[in-house]
């Protein structure tokens, strides 16, 4: 196996309340350089919590997370923000675009925050826009474009700084089936051309079948994992079978 980009060790996450709710019960997990992994599991299994802990949005109760040999939870707020901008790329279900900015400005925002040279900025923008096929909508405002286009813009923003790890939380949750295909094809091509490691949470077996490996979580623990062989169709079937074992898989599709 090549270098690991993400290393999760004995990750626990508990939510305090009248009854302490254990969302994650000791997860061990690794993501190799240039690996595309999907995380699946029934609702409430803890998959989004896992992603939030990795993406430094939610602080774990215990356990160690290292991304590119750095523990983000040892950083202060300023450093953490910088870490997110440099090392991580985010794609969200709700796109999370800033509606006061144009498409172009949204994509450039992480670079602007780091005060990258303007020429360099626009060069990178041209590259990424071409890769994602959004050259025509750069000057538009975010409410003037469709859902599929919004997700492309979000992906463009997530990869413009060439992050070591791209985190995607139900990236196709708000899209129609045509847009789902488009966006997934793009993620796949980004994975191949930019060699970015991708960790994606989804409950859609079809979407998961674009990954190289699918990790299943049940009740806050790792349950199983399935690796893709040469046949995507067969991979999809394996995923479906595992979901059937997990229970509640079929009707969620």
């Amino acid at each position: 196996m090549s270098n690991t980009i993400l290393h999760v060790q004995q990750l626990h996450k508990e939510y305090a309340g009248e009854v302490v709710y254990k969302a994650l019960k000791g997860i061990d997990f690794q993501l190799a350089d240039n690996e595309f992994v999907a995380v699946m599991g029934p609702s409430g299994s803890g998959k989004t919590t896992l992603l939030n802990c990795i993406s430094t949005i939610d602080r774990p109760t215990s356990g160690i997370i290292t991304i590119n040999a750095q523990n983000p939870y040892e950083l202060n707020d300023d450093e953490l923000a910088k870490f997110r901008r440099n090392e991580l790329g985010f794609v969200f279900q709700d796109f999370n675009l800033v509606h006061t900015l144009t498409v172009e400005e949204n994509i450039l925002l992480p670079l602007a925050l780091d005060s990258v040279d303007i020429k360099d900025m626009h060069k990178r923008l041209a590259n990424v826009a071409q890769l994602l096929g959004i050259e025509g909508i750069l000057k538009k405002r975010t409410f003037e474009i469709s859902g599929g286009q919004k997700q492309r813009v979000a992906i463009a923003r997530a990869v413009i700084h060439e992050p070591s790890l791209l985190l995607a939380d139900e990236p196709t949750g708000n899209l129609d089936s045509k847009a789902v295909n488009d966006v997934m094809a793009l993620l796949e091509s980004i994975h191949q051309t930019l060699k970015t490691a991708i960790l994606m949470v989804t409950h859609d077996a079809y979407v998961a079948s674009f990954a190289q490996r699918v990790v299943f979580i049940k009740d806050g623990s790792l349950y199983n994992e399935v690796r893709r062989g040469n046949n995507k169709q067969q991979f999809y079937q394996e995923i479906m079978d595992t979901l059937a074992f997990l229970g509640g898989g079929q009707h969620e599709i």
Partner: protein
């Protein structure tokens, strides 16, 4: 479920949308109510309705009412905007426009009624405290508590009418298209500021022409009268409006073109500004006008309060002036003077001056000998040659006529000089001609004897003046008594009330400005919260969020302050011939105090806004 149930449930289940509207209504009514409690105080009944003070009082309450009116309309609009989406849902489910209007009308009337009741209850609770403060400010011991029936009645009636009108009018502004549009998309972005250089230019030209006309005193300014001032006010308000909106647009454009646009958080700040340019500009405009109101009220009314002593002294130079008319008996005169002197003796050190003049009582033109003139205090002694005369003023602030002496049978004399300050109490005689003693002796007019007394530390001896005035009252035929101490006491009272009104007005303006800002931030908070939460996920540190928010807030708070200060400076510059140095001093102090207040509230607002903004759940 009946229609009225929907109305009531609408309010109860969505309290937080209604609460800011409710609170601003309560606030406006409360202020008006408290002011009415003062205005209708039995003690103030003594004030003549036609006096300056009575008119000021009336004007002030009218003004507060108009202001409340505008403020309530403003909050109702802000509130309606927040509710438009809900209305859209009602429309989609099949409510007719008429039903929607009825619903809004009833809702408003309910809130209005509740606001009036709450405000009056609150007012009654805090009025003892308020009257106590008023008592201190007005230095009126009789200003006690009373049952303010008239104030309650007036407040209820006026505001019921106001809510009735506002609710009726406002329903016309519900926009069907906008409501349904809102249902489709959560964020409808507001229109960006339209570029309108022609309107800007036009308003600037009209205002400058109007101002220039006043400066050059064109005849048509006077003939237009009130109309001119209304036109001037409207055109100035429009000019300020266009300067702010167009200036804002210009700044945004410059910033976007500038090289630093893609540096750090600039993009976020500027794009935010661009997206909210219109409402930001409107808030800045409103705040600027309100602050200008605050500044003018404080400067004008406070400085008049601090000028009382000087003004009193210029009107009535002496602590006491006893004028013995020709019809007075010597015995009476002796008795009065002795009484005054013995009373003053008990009060402290005093100086006495004796003088006299002869007067043409018909025309109130007086003649005084040089010796008598020099016997008085408060002006330079003079010497006159045998063929010279000197002129002294009789009216405060009016230049005496120097040539009316020619109407009298005196030898031809040369004009030697002029004393523009009235030498005795103002208005008693039109003018005093000071003549050489020999010429004076020959004049055949009745003699008025003047006994003037100057008490040391007179401002603290108001009771002495009251004593003397109670014992010796003026009599048209025999003797007149006047006292600057008396005048000072009355003036002080009048000015205290003016001060009080000014204080109330500036308080109202200031809190209105602050609450407008607060409600504005509140309405946009939810959207901003979502936005910043999203950007923070991508990688925006707290410090960067705080820098963006600080810039935006600073703009909203300090641009109006700066603009209002500049405008005030312009007003003062234009009126520099009419205002005294105290005015500048008071203005400087006032503005510094407000600046401190603003810096303080800026940090408080910023802190709590940031806290709310970054609060995750």
């Amino acid at each position: 479920m009946k229609f009225n149930d929907i109305v009531v449930q609408n309010i109860l289940r969505d309290k937080w949308t209604y609460i800011s509207y409710f609170l601003s209504s309560v606030f406006s009514i409360l202020v008006f109510f408290l002011f009415s409690i003062t205005a209708f105080h039995p003690m103030l009944a003594a004030i003549d309705q036609n006096s300056t003070l009575g008119i000021t009082m009336m004007f002030a309450s009218f003004f507060i009412y108009i202001f409340s009116f505008i403020f309530i309309i403003y909050s109702i609009f802000a509130f309606l905007k927040k509710k438009t989406k809900t209305l859209g849902t009602f429309m989609i489910t099949g409510a007719s426009m008429k039903q929607i209007r009825t619903m809004i009308f009833r809702e408003n009337m309910l809130i209005g009624g509740a606001a009036i009741m709450t405000a009056i209850t609150l007012g009654l609770i805090i009025s003892p405290l308020f009257l106590m403060i008023a008592k201190r400010v007005l230095q009126a011991n009789t200003f006690g508590m009373y049952v303010p029936l008239a104030a309650i009645l007036l407040t209820v009636v006026l505001f019921s009418i106001l809510f009735l009108i506002v609710s009726k009018i406002i329903t016309r502004f519900i926009n069907r298209e906008e409501a349904i549009q809102l249902l489709k998309a959560d964020v409808i972005t507001e229109k960006i500021i339209a570029s309108s250089p022609v309107k800007l230019l036009l308003s600037v030209i009209v205002s400058s022409v109007l101002l220039l006309a006043m400066k050059l005193q064109f005849t048509w300014v006077e003939s237009l009268g009130m109309l001119y001032y209304i036109a001037l006010m409207i055109s100035s308000l429009l000019t300020i409006y266009y300067i702010i909106t167009q200036g804002m647009l210009w700044i945004i454009r410059m910033k976007i073109k500038g090289t630093s646009y893609y540096r750090k958080t600039n993009m976020l700040v500027v794009s935010n500004l661009k997206a909210k340019g219109r409402s930001h500009a409107h808030i800045i405009y409103l705040l600027t006008i309100l602050l200008l109101g605050v500044f003018l009220c404080t400067s004008v009314l406070y400085s008049s309060y601090y000028n009382v002593k000087e003004r009193t002294e210029s009107l009535y130079p002496y602590s006491f002036q006893y004028t013995s008319l020709p019809g007075n008996s010597l015995v009476q005169e002796r008795q009065d003077i002795t009484y005054i002197q013995s009373t003053l003796n008990k009060a402290g050190h005093y100086d006495a001056y004796y003088s006299a003049f002869k007067t043409d009582a018909q025309r109130r033109i007086a003649f005084m000998s040089v010796s008598n003139y020099n016997a008085l205090a408060f002006h330079e002694s003079i010497t006159l040659k045998d063929d010279e005369y000197y002129v002294a003023a009789g009216f405060q602030g009016v230049r005496p006529a120097i040539d009316m002496i020619n109407d009298y049978a005196v030898p031809k004399l040369q004009f030697a000089g002029l004393q523009e300050q009235n030498i005795l109490l103002t208005g008693f005689q039109n003018v005093y001609y000071i003549l050489p003693d020999a010429i004076y002796e020959k004049l055949d007019f009745p003699v008025y004897k003047v006994f003037a007394f100057e008490l040391q530390d007179w401002t603290n001896n108001i009771d002495v003046a009251e004593n003397i005035s109670a014992t010796i009252t003026s009599n048209q035929d025999t003797h007149l008594i006047s006292s600057k101490i008396d005048l000072y006491a009355t003036e002080k009272f009048v000015k205290s009330i003016m001060f009080f009104i000014g204080f109330m007005l500036s308080l109202i303006f200031l809190s209105a400005a602050m609450s407008i800002l607060y409600f504005y931030l509140q309405t946009s908070l939810e959207g901003e919260k979502v936005k910043y939460a999203g950007i923070r996920k991508i990688g925006l540190s707290m410090r960067e969020v705080s820098s963006v928010v600080t810039k935006e807030l600073a703009m909203l708070v300090f641009i109006p302050f700066t603009l209002a200060s500049i405008l005030l400076a312009c007003v003062m510059l234009a009126m520099r011939d009419y205002i005294s140095s105290t005015f500048y001093e008071m203005t400087a102090i006032g503005i510094s105090v407000f600046l401190l207040l603003f810096i303080g509230s800026f940090f408080i607002i910023r802190r709590s806004y940031l806290k709310k903004l970054l609060d995750v759940q």
